[in-house]
Amino acid sequence: MSGNTPDPETLARVYRSLRLIRRTEEEIARLYPSDKIKSPVHLSIGQESVSVGVCDALNDDDMMSATYRGHAAYLAKGGDLNQMMAELYGKGTGGAGGKAGSMHLVDMKAGVLGMSAVVGTTIPIAAGYAFAMKREGRPSGEGRITAGFFGDGATEEGVFSETLNFAALHKLPILFVCENNGFAIHSPLSNRWATEALCERVRTYGIPTHEIDDADVFTIRRTAVDAIQAIRAGEGPQFMECKTYRWREHVGPGEDYDDDYRTRDELAPWQENDAMATTGEMLDAAERDAIDKDVEQRIAEAIAFAEQSPWPEPEELFSHVYAD
């Protein structure tokens, strides 16, 4: 980790982000049995370091797209927490006015391009946004970029290969980020991948790749910083494959180590290496406590906001079908 040791400000920022995501999702899981969140929730718990490491390397005016498992990326990019919580509650104050739920979070002001519940679907969308960015004519090195997150399963969809080819051909300013958690629902890689040579394959398009096996948040961040610098310089797309592990069930608030597709032994090393815990330990205790307190308060406020917000008006069903 040495080469990637962060300055104190970065450390605090990264910890805060990891903590905010973890605690927000833990609260979602806690609230879930109340049936107030009538939305399929795909928790990122355990996978936060990928979103946080990459998004910390993005500028505010960069864009990011992700999947139905998108709470982490949304928050890491600075998406509005109140709007997210209200959206999960189905309230009119949600980011999409209650039309999106957990699976289609969006916050264009924060650079969150919107998520999709159909696996792989946002990969070309992210590239298309980058396509437009390339045409903004900013000086080399100052261009905006898009980061596109997706799972290991998404790389099996044809549109992934099609998009890589197009993005490389046109040197689009996009950072592809594969969150490889080893599963698609309960299906292991061995049922789905002929080989694990994903990065090698991506390189055949002329796209530089980075494989990170330990989910270390500062390694991810440093890798992203370097990759993004090259992308802003007009060198075209880069690709990161980040191994990670989903601690909870595929969808829903619980754990599922008693189902027969994986064991708690598999989880153990990932938990020992938990980014939130390890970065927390690097902080001075008082500073950490202050952050923790602040995080709790923000989450409590967001829940209160969601609880107190009104439902959308019935006529909202018919708004936004067509844009003016």
Partner: protein, 356 residues
């Protein structure tokens, strides 16, 4: 034609169990039958519909796949051309949009385009989702797109008896069959014979007789139509309820005859109405009526994308109350509008909870 109350069996089975049994029995009978699709082999077994099959038949016949709907459809078509009988399972109908090219440009056309030299005995199982925030991309009923294309068959059974009989028939059919299921029908039960049997395609089922209006309910909307029939009975309106069961071929005869008798036809689809199955049924009935058409109406999804929040989602779908109100207005156009104050949500629907 057999009916759901076939006295030869008093055994009650859920829709899930019926699907599962049909597949297991056909796999026993024909070694060419196999199940393919994402997660068909896991412990959840597509909400139970494929449970136990992997243990019994092994990975060669119950095969998990990569997320590659397009290729897996083509691979299933190729295997079907070679004489096998694939059952390709999609956990949501929305994902069929990823394999339209294979389904429509190849599966539907191969037998014709190759002058009869090949057949494509393929079953595509697809589940329509509803409620608990399924939202825009997990709720679509896309059956009309497949009805539109010659060469495909489309069935949408609404009870466990038809589920087993139609799935058995679909597996034995030498053509591609789009098999439309609905998530909220899964827990419903009906008497289902244990021995294999088929339900013939192209025969509608009159599931409740009546004299004032004909209600046609497609997929899950049949359940709402039956409930609307009860509500209407309370105000003295007698509704005939028809389940088309099979959408292509479509039994226009039965529907037209009923509408001719009642003078009113309301089709309620589990999909959008524009250029939908309801359009087809209404147009086909009116076309035959040559100037003596019944009063007709269509209901279906609101002309919007499906929202996730329950307060908007509830108005996205027709329900027993809105169906009864519309039927009332058709039957008694002069009267002032009426709406029953029934609970709009059916008990098993209210019991449905996520996460998925």
């Amino acid at each position: 034609m057999s009916t759901p109350t076939d006295p030869s069996s008093q055994r009650s089975l859920s829709y899930v169990g019926a699907l599962n049994e049909a597949v297991e029995q056909e796999m026993d009978l024909d070694p060419g039958v196999f199940v393919i699709g994402l997660n068909v082999d896991d412990h959840k077994g597509i909400q139970g519909t494929t449970q136990g099959l992997f243990d019994k038949f092994g990975p060669d016949r119950v095969m998990d796949t990569p997320l590659s709907e397009d290729a897996v459809t083509g691979i299933s078509i190729g295997a079907a051309m070679a004489g096998m009988r694939p059952i390709h399972v999609h956990i949501r109908m929305d994902f069929l949009l990823l394999c339209m090219n294979q389904l429509i440009n190849m599966a539907a056309k191969a037998h014709y385009m190759y002058g009869g030299q090949t057949k494509v005995p393929l079953v595509v199982r697809s589940i329509i989702g509803k409620s608990w925030g399924q939202g825009a991309q997990h709720s679509q009923g896309l059956h009309s797109m497949f009805m539109h294309v010659p060469g495909l068959k489309v069935v949408a059974p609404t009870n466990a008896y038809d589920a087993k009989g139609c799935l058995t028939a679909a597996i034995r059919d030498n053509n591609p069959v789009i098999f439309v299921e609905h998530r909220l029908l899964y827990s419903t039960e009906a008497p289902v014979p244990e021995a294999p049997y088929t339900v013939e395609f192209g025969k509608a089922r009159v599931v409740g007789q009546g004299t004032d209006i004909t209600l046609v309910g497609i997929s899950y909307m049949l359940v709402e139509c039956l409930r609307a029939r009860e509500l209407l009975a309370e105000v003295g309106i007698s509704a005939e309820v028809i389940d088309p069961v099979s959408l292509m071929p479509l039994d226009v005869d039965t529907i037209a005859a009923s509408a001719g008798r009642t003078g009113n036809l309301l089709v309620v689809d589990n999909a959008w109405t524009v250029a939908g199955a309801g359009s087809e049924i209404v147009a086909a009935v009116c076309e035959r009526a040559t100037g003596n058409a019944p009063v007709v109406g269509r209901m279906g999804y609101a002309p919007t994308t499906c929202p996730t929040t329950p307060v908007l989602e509830k108005d996205f779908y027709p329900n027993a109350t809105t169906i009864a109100a519309r039927a009332f207005a058709m039957v008694r156009p002069g009267d002032k509008p009426w709406s029953p104050d029934a609970e709009p949500t059916l008990p098993h629907e209210a019991a449905f909870k996520g996460p998925f």
